[in-house]
Amino acid sequence: MIPWETSMSSNSSKTKDVKIDVHYLTRVEGHGNIVVDTKDGKLTKCEFQVIESPRFFESMLVGRVIWEAQHITSRICGICACGHSLASIKAAEDALGITPADETVMLRKLLLYTEQMDSHILHIYFLVAPDLLGVKSIMPLIKTHRSIIDMALKMKRMSDYAGEVLAGRHIHPISYVIGGLTQLPARENLEKLYKMMLECRKYGDETVKILKKLKFPEFQRPTQYLSLTHDGEYAMYDGDLVVNGKNRTKYNKYREVLTEKVVDYSRAKIATINNKPYAVGALARFNNNSDKLHKKAKAVAESLRLKAPCHNPYLNTVAQMVEWVHCLEESIAIIEKILKEGLNEKKIVVSSWPKKSQIDKIKYRPNTGIGCVEVPRGSLFHEYTIDDTGHITAANCVIPTNQNMGNLEEDMRKLVPELLGRHSREEITQALEMLARAYDPCISCATHLLDVRFV
C-alpha cells in the first residue's frame, strides 16, 4: 500500500542508507531505470535513466518531403499518436503558410480531447490504481474488482471509438493531415459516439468517488509549471506559453523559454527553464489554467480537494481526472454543435498529398515552422525547416517526458532524505516508483531528442 502509512514503517527494517536500482520500471510506457545511492544518510546519486534504444526520428525526417511528416512522426508514440500528429501538422502548416478552416480546428480539438481522455484513463486505472490498491497490476483486479474494470474498459472504449470515428483509428490517425481532413466523420458514427459519451458521464462520477477514497502520498515541492494558456478556453490545442501563470510568450519562441541538454546516463535530454527543472502535464495545466475549466470539472476538482497551485506531484493523477471531466464536457458540446449545424465538406476535406496536377506547381520557400499542443503528458513541440523543394532539412521534437525528467529527479532528491531512516528499502523503492509513475512518463517518446544543432 502507501509506503509511509503502513505499519511496516515502524518495524526494524527501516534503513539509514539505501542503494536502489529499479531495472526496467514497470507500468510506464518505455524503458527506464531509477538509480539511487546514499552514504551516511546523504544522497550521493539520484537518477532517472532512460535506457530505451534511441530511434533517430529527427535524423530520419531529414530528406523526407514535408507532406510525409505527420505520417512519420505519429509513429514516435502509440499513446500520443494524435497529439504528435497535430503538433506535426501545425508545424508543417506554419512552414508552408497554410491556415486551416475553423471547422477543421474544431475537429482537431475534438480529437485532442478524446486522446487526453484515453491516455488519462489508461494511466489512472491501468498504471496507478494497482499501486493504490496494493496489487502488482490490473490483472488481479479483473477477479477482485470486475465491475470497476468493466467500467474502465468502457471509458477506454469510448475514447478509442472516438479515434476510429474521427481519424480512422486512434493509434496512428489516418484522416488528419496538413490543411484539413481526408474525409469527414460519418454522422451516424458521431451519434453513436455522442451516446457513449453521455453514458460515460456516470462512469466519470463513479471514478471520482473511487479517487475520493484513495489516499495519495503526502509530499510537497513547489516548482516551475509550464503550459500553454489561452484567454478563451482551457488551453490544449493553442495558446501562449506561461510559467506559473507568468511570462507569457508565443510558443514559436519556445527556445527562449526552455533549454535542453544531453546527460551521460540517459538517452533522453533534460530540459530546464532558467537553469532549473520544471514540470509539464495535467498538474501544470491545472495550476496555470484552472479558472478556464468547465464548471463540472471545477466541481470535481473541489470535491477531490485539488486546489491551484498544487505542489504535490503525486496528485498529477487527480488533475488528470479533472481534465478527463473537462474534455468529456467540451467534446459533448462540440459533437452537439456538429450534429446541429453539420460540417462543411468543402472547407474541411483535402487530399493527403498534392494531386498530380498540382505537384509541379507548388512553390516552396525555405522556412521553419513550429507547432505546439498540450498532449496528455504536457507541452509538445515540433519544429521543421524545409528547403525550396519542400524537403525537410532539420527537425526537432521536444517531448513532455524530457521536460519532466529533471523535475522528477529533483523530487526524488527531496523525497529520499525525507524517507531515509524511517522506512525500509522496499518502501522507499515503491515510493520512488509511484512518484515516477505519477508523471506518467512516456519513454519511447522521450528518446526522440532535439536536433542539437539548434542549441
Partner: protein, 254 residues
C-alpha cells in the same frame, strides 16, 4: 477429460512506439476473453509481475542495439512460439529509415558531441536475428487479424499472411481508386490483410504491411513517375517501412 494447462504468454518490446501492444488494450472485452484462455505472465507496460517462464512470446519493435540482439536470442531460447508483432518487428518499420543514412551521421544529427555514447546498430526486423513463427504485419496491427492469428496459435495451426495486394480488399470496399483521383498510392504492391484501412479513411496506402512477394515494382515505378514523383522519391515510398528490402529495390528500380 483432463483440463489442459493454459499457455503462458509474454510480451516484449524492443525499439518502437508500443502502439501495437496498446492495440491489445484497445480490444476491450475481447481482451478479457483472451485473458481467460491464456495466462499473461509478462507485460511490462501494464504489469509489475515479471514471469520468466512462458510458451508464447510476442515481440514488438525492431532490433537496434546489441542488447536487443541478446534479449531476443534469450527469448527465442525460452519460448516455444515467437510472434513478430507489428511493422517494426516484421519489417523494421519506420525505424529502418535510419539505415538510409550512415549511422555516424544519424548519431551526430541527434546527439552531436555525445554521439559516441550512443549504442546503436542497423535497425532489423526480428526474423533477421532469430526464427519467427508468426508474423502480424501493420503499423499499427489490425485487430481482426491479431485475433485470427491468436486463434491459429492456440490451435497450433499456421497463419498464412495474404499474398495479394491491398487493391483486392480496396475494391471489395468499393473505394474509388486514388489514381482516378489524381493521387498516388502504394496499394498495388502492398500486402493485403488490413482491409484497406487507410484508403477507407481517405488517405493513401503507405506500404506498412510490406510488399507482396512478387510486386509489380516496375509497373508501380512507371505509374509513380507518371504522377510526377522523382526516382529517389519513389525509392523512399518503397522503403518507408521496408528498409530490409531497400538494397533489392534500389537495384531493381534503378
Amino acid at each position: 477429460m483432463k483440463k489442459q494447462p493454459k499457455p503462458k504468454v509474454a510480451f516484449f518490446d524492443f525499439t518502437d512506439c508500443e502502439g501495437c501492444q496498446l492495440q491489445f488494450a484497445n480490444m476491450g472485452e475481447v481482451l478479457l476473453e483472451i485473458a481467460e484462455l491464456v495466462d499473461i505472465v509478462n507485460f511490462r507496460e501494464i504489469m509489475s509481475e515479471q514471469g520468466e517462464d512462458y510458451d508464447i512470446a510476442f515481440a514488438e519493435g525492431s532490433i537496434t542495439t546489441d542488447n536487443d540482439v541478446k534479449r531476443i536470442k534469450k527469448i527465442r531460447e525460452k519460448a516455444k512460439v515467437v510472434v513478430a508483432l507489428g511493422a517494426c518487428a516484421t519489417l523494421g518499420g519506420v525505424n529502418g529509415m535510419k539505415n538510409r543514412t550512415p549511422l555516424d551521421v544519424a548519431k551526430e544529427r541527434v546527439y552531436a558531441d555525445k554521439a559516441d555514447t550512443v549504442n546503436t546498430i542497423k535497425a532489423m526486423p526480428v526474423h533477421e536475428v532469430v526464427k519467427v513463427d508468426y508474423f502480424i504485419h501493420g503499423c499499427p496491427v489490425y485487430i481482426p487479424e491479431v485475433i485470427t492469428v491468436i486463434k491459429c496459435i492456440l490451435m497450433s495451426r499456421p497463419y498464412v499472411v495474404p499474398n495479394y495486394p491491398v487493391c483486392a480488399e480496396c475494391k471489395m470496399n468499393e473505394n474509388v481508386c486514388l489514381y482516378e483521383k489524381e493521387q498516388e498510392c502504394m496499394g498495388p504492391v502492398t500486402r493485403a490483410g488490413c482491409n484497406s484501412w487507410c484508403i477507407n479513411n481517405g488517405n493513401r496506402c503507405y506500404g506498412c504491411r510490406g510488399l507482396v512477394d512478387n510486386p509489380a515494382a516496375d509497373a508501380q515505378k512507371d505509374i509513380l513517375l507518371k504522377y510526377g514523383l522523382k526516382m529517389d522519391e519513389i525509392l523512399k515510398h518503397f522503403t518507408l517501412y521496408n528498409d530490409s528490402l531497400g538494397d533489392k529495390y534500389e537495384q531493381q528500380l534503378k
